[in-house]
């Protein structure tokens, strides 16, 4: 049995502890935190190399009893769905730390790095946990550092934003916890096996009503996290007021916990309900796509605009997931990674601009291409990734999501493509007002272009965007089998239920005479 996953999850926590022992010198703290974050990054890349493509089940599994009285176990494992989300996490955390040390975080560097590393443990743990209680613990652990990151290093109405963020999330989490407990109790009662272990809970027999309520418990928690329209209003506040690194992690990784949760827990645990609920979620996804894009369009604040664009982009992910088609779900997983890269990069870019001008109002800019062409060119590239230009990563995900959905629910796609048009509209309009036109504020003519450190932050993201756009095979090949596993589970459950409900045709019934003969 390997300990790779345990090491991966807790190394950042060790690093966070080690930070406390360092001398009181910010530069040393930043450097050390960056180096500490390289360890999980390297480990996650090792996982990528050692991961066996073509397998649908969990790899590097670790399974120990934790609190056996309550059936709680320490169960970690990784599959094609979580593999790249784990790598996305380690990459974005490293880049966030590298960026934040360049002047973005001016006070309490040690506390900041500490919280980011704790957060990394929470994120990785939630992505790898296969026991419901273990998952829940990590899920809640994520919340605390993020709460402080926004509350301490945030801007503007940061307290309002933090409270809104925590309230929304906690509301969902509690419902999820209740559902988890009920499920374990049902396992105890009906299988005589008190367990919170995810694979074991697949087998719990549930009545249709029970399954619906339990699905709702999970789904609401995840929907808030995604966020699905109309429970999205915490997002623009939290993203806008968070410090740059906070926004990057929030948008880049934490939102994916919602969509990941649907794929890992809500759908496989309650496949029949998921199929019933699919049209509703598709409708909400389409509303989110169009609504998010339209509201993003009219934002005067560049960061808030990008925050709202997440509502639209995550709508595409939800669309792909609830199409419950292999192509669509593959695309949805891919789109989670794309959104992490491109939106993460956009938040970094807005942070760089804020650092120079201390404003994010679009109206305060204009003509920046003249003064900071490297910045403007990189922004253009990331924007093109975000609007799904073919050849870059966004297209692959968007295309597969829309295609997969079209194969199952054509109508939804006719509406969703409107989001493709609007996506280009709000991004390009904002770009035009910030980068093009004449320089209207004299101070904008004297801005300094990107520093070497800032370019070093962006280059890995640019490289990944290109690679994932041109050669998605290595990723899709590893994602596909696990996605197929989820879809097969859903299909099998639906088929079984249909069989159970269908009246047995007369012809198939054993003829009485034969029954007699057998006796």
């Amino acid at each position: 049995m390997s300990f790779a996953l345990t090491i991966l999850v807790f190394v950042p926590l060790l690093g966070a502890g080690a930070l406390m022992l360092l001398p009181d010198d910010d530069e040393v703290v930043w450097r050390s935190a960056f180096i500490f974050s390289l360890v999980p990054l390297a480990l996650s890349l090792y996982l990528l190399v050692a991961f066996e493509p073509g397998r649908a089940d969990y790899q590097f599994v670790e399974h120990y009893a934790w609190i056996p009285q309550f059936g709680i176990s320490y169960h970690l494992g990784i599959d094609g769905i979580s593999l790249f989300l784990v790598i996305l996490t380690t990459v974005l955390i490293t880049l966030s730390l590298l960026y934040s040390g360049g002047g973005d975080i001016a006070m309490r560097a040690r506390e900041f790095c500490f919280l980011v590393l704790v957060l990394e443990t929470g994120l990785l743990g939630a992505l790898l946990a296969l026991d419901l209680i273990l998952f829940y613990v990590f899920w809640e652990v994520m919340l605390v550092p993020m709460y402080f990151l926004i509350g301490i290093w945030g801007h503007g109405r940061k307290l309002y934003a933090t409270f809104k963020f925590v309230l929304f999330t906690m509301f969902g989490s509690l419902l999820m916890l209740v559902a988890m407990l009920y499920l374990a109790a049902a396992a105890h009662a009906r299988l005589d096996n008190l367990t919170f272990d995810l694979p074991a809970l697949y087998r719990v027999p549930l009545s249709a009503t029970e399954a619906r309520w339990l699905f709702a418990g999970f789904a609401i928690a995840f929907a808030i996290k995604v966020p699905v329209w109309p429970v999205h209003t915490w997002l623009p506040d939290a993203h806008t007021e968070a410090p740059t690194a906070g926004s990057v992690i929030l948008a880049g990784i934490m939102l994916k916990m919602g969509t990941y949760g649907f794929l890992r827990f809500a759908i496989p645990l309650f496949p029949v309900v998921a199929v019933e609920a699919a049209p509703w979620f598709l409708a909400l996804a389409v509303v989110g796509i169009i609504y998010g894009a339209l509201v993003a369009m009219v934002q005067p604040d560049l960061k808030r605009l990008i925050a709202y664009s997440s509502v639209s982009h995550l709508g595409f992910v939800m669309l792909g997931i609830f199409a419950l088609d292999p192509t669509g779900v593959d695309g949805a997983v891919y789109q989670m990674l794309n959104h992490g890269l491109s939106t993460g990069a956009l938040f970094l870019l807005v942070g760089m601009l804020y650092l120079r001008r201390h404003t994010r109002e679009i109206a305060d800019f204009g003509g920046l291409w003249k003064s900071i062409p490297v910045y403007a060119a990189i922004f253009m590239f990331i924007m093109l990734s975000s609007i799904g230009l073919p050849g870059l990563n966004g297209f692959v995900g968007e295309f597969l999501v829309l295609l997969g959905t079209f194969l199952k629910f054509r109508l939804a796609v006719y509406f969703a493509v409107i989001g493709v048009i609007l996506g280009a509209l709000y991004m390009m309009w904002a770009y035009e007002r910030v980068m093009w036109g004449p320089i209207t504020h004299a101070v904008n003519a004297t801005l300094a272009d990107l520093t070497a450190r800032e370019i070093a932050v962006m280059v890995p993201l640019i490289a990944l965007i290109l690679f994932m756009g041109l050669y998605p095979r290595p990723l899709l090949r590893r994602i596909e089998p696990s996605v197929a596993g989820v879809i097969n589970r859903v299909d099998a459950a639906v088929a079984m239920q249909a069989e159970a409900q269908a009246p047995v045709p007369l012809a198939r019934r054993p003829a009485p005479s034969r029954m007699l003969a057998r006796q």
Binding site: Y136, E140, L143, V144, Y147, F148, G151, L159, F163, K164, V166, L167, M170, S173, L177, L181, A184, A185, H188, L194, P230, V231, T233, L294, V295, M297, V298, D325, P326, T327, D330, G331, Y334, L384, L389, P390, V396, F399, L400, L402, L403, G404, F406, L407, V413, Y414, V417, I421, A424, M428, W429, E432, W436, G437, P438, L470, Y471, R473, R477, E480
Partner: protein
């Protein structure tokens, strides 16, 4: 028969190499290096295209070359290869794109000689060429879409090339967004085709593969064809998505020549032709193509008659001429459409480059009201532009005559006399507006501002040589498609026939008495222009006064931009800002949330006032409380 031929990969890779050079080495390498590399790579791509053509003709008729680079996207049963394919149709498109493209690149060296942003300019130009080549070389619909959006992107970047002008920046974005509407149609078209084929268990998006699946495509052919045609109307600037093209004229003039006349805007025609097997399954869709083409041709020509900006006349002329190509494709005369595409690329590129030479000489002046009498000072420009004007008017033996004639004859023969009549009338209008342009710029009294009038002369050789080459092509380019019975009659159609004509269909019928009408009408148009603008200059003013309403309608381009703004753009913005953002997000959802959460929030604010650290304690308490409730439930449920 399909043969593997790896050099196909070089055709788009060469200009892509030029992009990298201009982007990263442009500033360091200096102007001279970029001036050599940027046109050079396009020239080399032309050479490779010729090489590929030589290989292609050595294959039996109907053969193709193919180069599969790598397996691109595969998810579930769906899969796409990054692959290129070179058949007769691609060969013509490749030669036009790289040939005309190389000439325009050379010309640009002179035109952009004083612009300090030359490296950025050639980055975009090479990127555009590469995208267009990917579009025409694509082996399947998805790779085609890569080029399709790529040319849209380059168009956006080049229209807004002089980005400090906010109007130019707006026009660039307008082009991209309008094209995106079309692209959404294209995407839906791809999905419809995949859906139709998947129902029969077939998973392919390659042109070769799809063309053998008529039975599976049949039930969805009309929907797929119409959706794809929506994409074509965007790229090819047809009704209803043509509105971006006239505004695209604010880009540097070589851009207008390359992108907005010779190549990108023909992409829609190419796509319809490439998917001819699909469109012929859907006669209704094909009729829509023909009607949209004919109506656009007429409608744009009427607007071109009253424009005073020299590039806008040419822009509407482009919309109108592409209408002819669509008409050709719509009546099933695919090869005639492609023939006109080719000749149009020659003479329209020439018209734009000549206009560019004038604009360059007059320091950016585009109003024909401040031109006139340039014949003496710019003789090469005058002669070459006159050649192009004769070609676009459809006067034999210039190139445009043969191609336009083929389209109109095919239209008549296919049983669309009304569309034929529209096409013939438009031919007269075409001759009229183009000779109006010629007379207003080259003849009559000079109306050039005195400060500029003194030093007028033809452009340097780097710009005039491409003009002369294109002029020769505008004369002789049509001779490859002589009517049946003349010398090598219909060589062009026979070359294309195995690719574009669906099996069983006939070649376009040969000429008839109608041919006389088609020669006479343009001559009437030219004569009318001469009478109106050279002989009796008061006449147009009088007509405009007498028909004030019509004149105003035309000058305002039928108020279509205003209509789109009033019906789509402004309501959309209003709904987003006031209904969704302020209303739903602000009042309804947050109103509900704040209603329930208000006490907690206010508690938080109050605590903040006394001691800031307590807010965090409060949250931790809340967390502990939540865990406590959880533990209680656990206890209740498990222990019972």
């Amino acid at each position: 028969m399909t043969q593997q031929f790896w050099p196909l990969g070089l055709i788009p890779l060469l200009p892509l190499g030029g992009v990298l050079f201009a982007l990263f080495g442009g500033r360091r390498g200096g102007r001279r290096a970029v001036n050599v590399v940027a046109p050079g790579v396009v020239g080399l791509a032309f050479a490779v295209s010729v090489w590929s053509l030589a290989r292609l003709v050595s294959l039996p008729a109907g053969g193709a070359l193919r180069f599969a680079a790598w397996r691109w996207i595969a998810a579930g049963p769906f899969h796409v290869e990054m692959a290129l394919r070179f058949d007769a149709l691609t060969a013509i498109m490749c030669l036009v794109v790289t040939g005309v493209g190389a000439l325009i690149h050379v010309y640009s060296v002179g035109y952009m000689g004083h612009d300090e942003d030359y490296a950025r300019f050639f980055t975009y130009m090479n990127l555009f060429t590469a995208s267009m080549l990917i579009l025409v070389l694509a082996d399947n619909l998805v790779v085609m879409f890569v080029g399709w959006e790529g040319v849209g992107l380059c168009s956006y970047l080049l229209i807004a090339f002089w980005y400090t002008n906010p109007e130019y920046a707006y026009n660039g974005r307008k082009a991209f967004i309008v094209n995106r509407v079309g692209d959404a149609g294209f995407l839906l078209g791809i999905f419809t085709i995949v859906y139709a084929l998947a129902r029969g268990g077939v998973w392919t998006v390659t042109f070769a593969g799809m063309s053998h699946q008529a039975a599976l495509l049949q039930p969805y052919a009309t929907a797929a064809a119409l959706l794809l045609f929506l994409g074509a109307t965007g790229k090819s600037a047809q009704i209803p998505l043509y509105v971006w093209l006239p505004d695209a004229m604010v880009g540097p003039t070589p851009v207008s020549a390359l992108i907005h006349a010779a190549t990108m805007v023909t992409a829609g025609v190419y796509m319809v032709t490439r998917l001819g097997f699909l469109f012929t399954l859907a006669p209704a869709a094909l009729t829509v193509v023909a009607v949209v083409g004919a109506v656009t041709a007429f409608f744009a020509a009427t607007i071109a008659m009253v424009q005073t900006d020299i590039k806008r006349v040419l822009a509407y002329s482009t919309i109108s001429q592409i209408g002819y190509m669509m008409l050709g494709a719509g009546v099933g005369a695919f090869s005639a459409g492609i023939f006109h595409l080719m000749t149009h690329a020659f003479f329209k590129a020439l018209l734009f480059l000549c206009a560019g030479a004038i604009i360059h000489e007059l320091d950016g002046e585009q109003e024909m009201g401040r031109m006139g009498g340039l014949r003496g000072s710019m003789p090469i420009t005058w002669l070459t532009m006159l050649t192009a004007a004769l070609a676009i008017s459809g006067i034999p033996p210039f190139a445009g005559y043969f191609s336009k004639d083929q389209i109109l004859e095919a239209t008549f023969a296919s049983g669309h006399p009304t569309l034929w009549l529209i096409g013939v009338i438009t031919a007269g209008l075409t001759a009229f507006y183009i000779f109006r342009l010629i007379i207003l710029t080259f003849y009559g009294e000079s109306r050039v501002e005195p400060s500029k009038a003194a030093h007028l002369h033809d452009a340097p050789a780097v710009m005039t040589v491409p003009l002369i080459v294109l002029a020769l092509l505008s004369v002789g380019g049509g001779w490859v498609g002589l009517p049946r019975g003349f010398l090598w009659g219909e060589a062009f159609n026979r070359f294309l026939a195995p690719v574009v004509i669906p099996p069983g269909a006939e070649l376009a019928t040969p000429g008839s008495g109608l041919a006389l009408v088609m020669i006479a009408i343009p001559i009437v148009g030219v004569a009318a222009a001469v009478v109106c603008y050279a002989q009796m200059p008061g006449l147009p003013v009088l007509v405009a006064y007498k028909a004030r309403l019509l004149d105003s309608l035309l000058r305002h381009k039928y108020y279509v931009d205003e209509l789109y703004n009033a019906v789509i753009a402004r309501p959309l913005f209003w709904v987003a800002a006031y209904v969704l953002h302020r209303g739903v997000d602000g009042a309804v959802i947050d109103g509900l949330v704040n209603g329930t959460g208000l006490t907690l929030l206010e508690g938080g604010e109050e605590l903040r006032r006394t001691e800031s650290g307590n807010v965090q304690h409060y949250a931790l308490l809340y967390l502990c409380g939540a865990l406590g409730i959880g533990a209680y439930y656990l206890y209740r449920v498990v222990i019972r």
